[in-house]
Symmetry: C2
Subunit: 111 residues, 2 copies
DNA sequence: CATGGCTAGATCGTATGACAATCTAGTCAG
DNA sequence: CTGACTAGATTGTCATACGATCTAGCCATG
């Protein structure tokens, strides 16, 4: 439990969903997202991973972007879930819960 | 149920574990593994995915390989879990169960 | 006997995407 | 002025999943 870094291959798939999950809590920005991911046990996600991912979300119309002047720091690019993003999040969330259950069963069942 | 295979990004991470799971039932060969994966709801895994994966397992010393003459067909390359493979499987299995629980909690908890 | 279909394994080229390293730029403390 | 921290972004590299394709053995049909 202590170190709790999951294999990166597992995180890769979940990362988009995890980001959607965080965005579902309300507007945030990249830097904060990376900290929340780390706090949530997803390890430290690097800029080279996170920013392209956010760009993909933006590109897919799942998030809306606003620039805000930073308080005590540089400007922030803030992200909110678009309606399509909310929908996509619910869909993926439900699907992941089903997937987790499915794989759990698969691993537990004898043959 | 049947048609909707999971997003490939999710399968990617789980695929190795799923193969280990199947190998844990005893000796099999590639072609049969791909059928069992499909039957288990992992979609149809192509040769270009499965054989390199099996080669990686072999390379890592997690499986042992035997050639057997095919009954009514070409020869088969049969795989068994090595002791190290058994250990690795238990480890990954436990870790995945924990991971599934962790992500489930993460998705369910409000903020 | 020739053809096509099934089993079985393997390889190649392409595309995706995660990561480390690096860069710019703003603020603040010393 | 310098260094630390926040914040976003880019670049190059590496791993790997996939589709397509190939070889090869066996069988049934025509």
């Amino acid at each position: 439990m202590s170190d709790s870094s999951w294999p990166t291959e597992w995180l890769r798939g979940t990362l988009t969903l995890a980001v959607l999950r965080i965005l579902a809590d309300g507007e945030t920005y990249g830097y904060a997202i990376s900290h929340r991911l780390e706090a949530a046990g997803f390890g430290s996600i690097k800029g080279g991973t996170l920013y392209p991912l956010l760009a993909r979300l933006e590109n897919a119309g799942l998030v809306e972007v606003t620039w805000r002047a930073g308080e005590g720091g540089p400007g922030r690019k803030c992200f909110t879930l678009s309606p399509a993003g909310c929908e996509e999040y619910s869909r993926q969330r439900a699907q992941w819960l089903a997937f987790a259950e499915h794989t759990t069963d698969f691993l537990k069942d004898p043959s």
